[in-house]
């Protein structure tokens, strides 16, 4: 008798635990002739446990397991970030309050959430990345990772490596340890183009991966120097067939390799799936595939980095092979 448990969060702020148990089916002995047809086997009945009371201000924006899979991390609309204990019926283990104001006409929302035993890392769409220590309430580090961020994800093994992407924000890998070192000083906006006048010595975590080496530098006016704390910054794809710049709007991303940061998949608003391979040093995506017709909303890893499952805005779920960019399957939901 197998059972599956699903944790869902909704815009009323409720967390529901849905447990579906496969019923024990007793296989009938060999049915002889002229016997009444056996009844259909019983369908699995789900049991639903609800935590919390309906309150739109506490709408859940992001939910994820912490690294040890012991607690459920939840980020709410009013800025509350909580760790819930599923074994104790959703009791709040730790809670932190971040202020989420309004940037002009756009609400600030959480775009990234990660928790391990020591800290909770959250990021908002204004680029405010907060590393909050669980043990020590006062130890909070606030970092800036750009503006109009659509997704922030933390690498599953290397918890100091963070990837961000957004509207006109290319995929960028940040090293939190390097960023933290400069929180006391003024943090410049990450450079897009042109030589950046860095006042302080950069931590220089990895060499800048550039396509042309050495002597050809003099010919190129614009040379992107990675800003402080950045490990990698992707480059926009080549101009399209009309020689127009392809607009950048990354909506979701996923680390494909569990052990290092070599392969990252990114989904865009123009229904493209791009896979970046950092090992070769290339800043342009290794694979750029157009899948579906509507923007990518959410992405997740399929089996061991060779598959990406993503959903779009119109109830379709696609499964894409990350090695070739071809669709493996599609669920035309309803």
């Amino acid at each position: 008798m197998s059972s599956q448990r699903f944790y869902t969060g909704d815009e009323q702020g409720l967390v529901k635990v849905v447990t579906i148990t496969e019923p024990i089916v007793v296989k009938p002995k060999r049915v002889r002739r002229n016997q009444p047809t056996p009844e259909a086997p019983p369908k699995p009945v789900p049991t639903v446990e609800t935590w919390g009371v309906p309150d739109r201000e506490r709408a859940i924006q992001l939910m994820c397991w912490d690294f040890e899979k012991k607690h459920l991390a939840v980020a709410r609309k009013n800025g509350l970030v909580q760790l819930l204990d599923p074994k104790e019926g959703g009791v709040v283990v730790t809670e932190f309050k971040h202020t989420l104001g309004k940037e002009g006409k756009v609400d600030t929302v959480f775009v990234g959430l990660f928790a391990n035993s020591e800290s909770i890392i959250t990021c908002t769409n204004t680029g405010r990345l907060v590393v909050q220590s669980i043990a020590d309430q006062s130890k909070t580090t606030v970092l800036e990772v750009g503006k109009d961020i659509c997704r922030m994800r933390v690498h599953p093994r290397e918890h100091h490596i963070v990837a961000t992407g957004g509207k006109e924000q290319e995929l960028t890998l940040w090293d939190l340890k390097a960023l933290c070192k400069d929180t006391t000083e003024e943090i410049p906006e990450p450079a897009k183009k042109g030589k950046k006048n860095n006042k302080k010595a950069a931590a220089a975590p990895t060499p800048v991966p550039e396509k042309k080496a050495g002597g050809a530098e003099a010919r190129y006016k614009s040379k992107e120097i990675l800003a402080n704390g950045q490990l990698f910054k992707a480059k926009n794809v080549k101009n399209d067939h009309l020689d127009l710049r392809v607009p950048v709007w990354n909506t979701d991303l996923q680390f494909l390799n569990q052990y290092d940061t070599s392969r990252i998949a990114v989904g865009t608003r123009n229904h493209q799936i791009r896979v970046y391979d950092l090992k070769g040093g290339a800043r342009r995506p290794a694979i750029d595939a157009e899948v579906g017709e509507m923007p990518v909303v959410a992405m997740t890893n399929g089996k061991d980095g060779s598959e990406i499952v993503f959903s779009d805005t119109v109830t379709n779920v696609y499964s894409v092979d990350t090695l070739t960019g071809a669709i493996i399957g599609q669920y035309k939901g309803n």
Partner: protein, 299 residues
């Protein structure tokens, strides 16, 4: 009795078939007259027979749907704080903007005139080609409109209606069909400026509730009963029929109706959570793949 289909002689076969047909009809007539005689003296028998012989229709053999709302506290809490709570709890008066797609034809303007008559406090604005939907939404929000209706046109006839609730309410897109303007309805009545009463039938599922509330929020809160006008939105098999009537009570048991105003049918195509955004997420979208069974309905 010989099987009629084994007789090779056509004349004989026809004769026998007619005899059989007449015998069947006579048997039915006799049964019905005896039943009528019995039931005229004993009305309970008739009631019993009617109660037992309920025919199966697609509506009463509807597939089990978990989203059908029945006394659900969670849904009630959800509806108490949704985008329409301003209307339902605070009594916000609706202010509707009606516009069309770009470059409409005459029939669309006629339909728009009818719509302006149906909903009180409505403004029709001619669509200018330089403004896109997102600009129109922004302008309407600045001028405190509560809803926008966009009539879409295809081949010189209105074919779709997009209903956008403001400020960030849901957007619903309907297919419009079977439009009959009041002038084409025989014996139609003249409308007055009284606020109509509203009847909403059969909006059962959670999706149906949202759409039903959307329509309710278009009409003013308190109807003027003196006007004796009623607007009906009847949902049957996912088609929403709009009718308008003026009623008059002859006596306690009999009501006479006179049809006013246009008739049209709507079918929900998709629903979005925020205001209209072509690349935004859709909460529900109709796809032909969803039609898995004739007994499955979504509203």
């Amino acid at each position: 009795m010989v099987e009629i289909n084994t007789i090779k002689n056509k004349l004989k076969r026809e004769e026998l078939y007619q005899k059989q047909k007449n015998a069947k009809a006579k048997a039915k007539r006799d049964r019905r007259t005896t039943l009528q005689k019995e039931e005229s003296s004993n009305p309970e028998k008739k009631e019993k027979r009617l109660a037992e012989n309920v025919p199966n229709t697609l509506e009463n053999t509807r597939e089990f749907d978990e989203t059908i709302v029945e006394e659900d506290a969670e849904v009630a809490a959800d509806e108490a704080t949704d985008e329409f709570s301003q209307y339902f709890q605070n009594g916000l008066t609706p202010k509707i903007l009606i516009t069309t797609s770009k470059g409409p034809s005459a029939s669309v303007y006629e339909f728009a005139t009818e719509l302006v008559d149906i909903f009180p406090n409505t403004h029709f604005v001619k669509r200018k080609p330089q403004f896109e939907m997102k600009h129109i939404i922004e302008f309407s929000k600045n001028r405190d409109f509560t809803d926008i209706m966009v009539i879409n046109e295809d081949r010189k006839e209105p074919n779709a209606l997009t209903l956008i609730h403001l400020p960030d309410g849901p957007t619903a897109h309907f297919k419009l069909s079977s439009i009959q303007l009041s002038k084409d309805i025989e014996g139609h009545g003249r409308t007055s400026s009284h606020k109509p009463e509203l009847i909403l039938n059969n909006f059962n599922t959670r999706l149906g509730h949202t759409i039903g509330r959307m329509f309710t929020a278009l009409f003013p809160h308190v109807p003027e009963f003196q006007g004796r006008q009623v607007a009906t939105l009847h949902n049957q098999r996912d088609f929403i029929f709009f009718r308008r009537h003026r009623y008059v009570f002859k006596n306690a048991k009999r009501v006479n109706l006179q049809e006013l105003g246009p008739r049209f049918t709507l079918k929900l195509k998709w629903l979005q959570k925020g205001t209209f955004d072509r690349k935004g997420e859709h909460e529900w979208m109709f796809k032909p793949e969803m039609e898995t069974s004739r007994r499955r309905f979504f509203l």
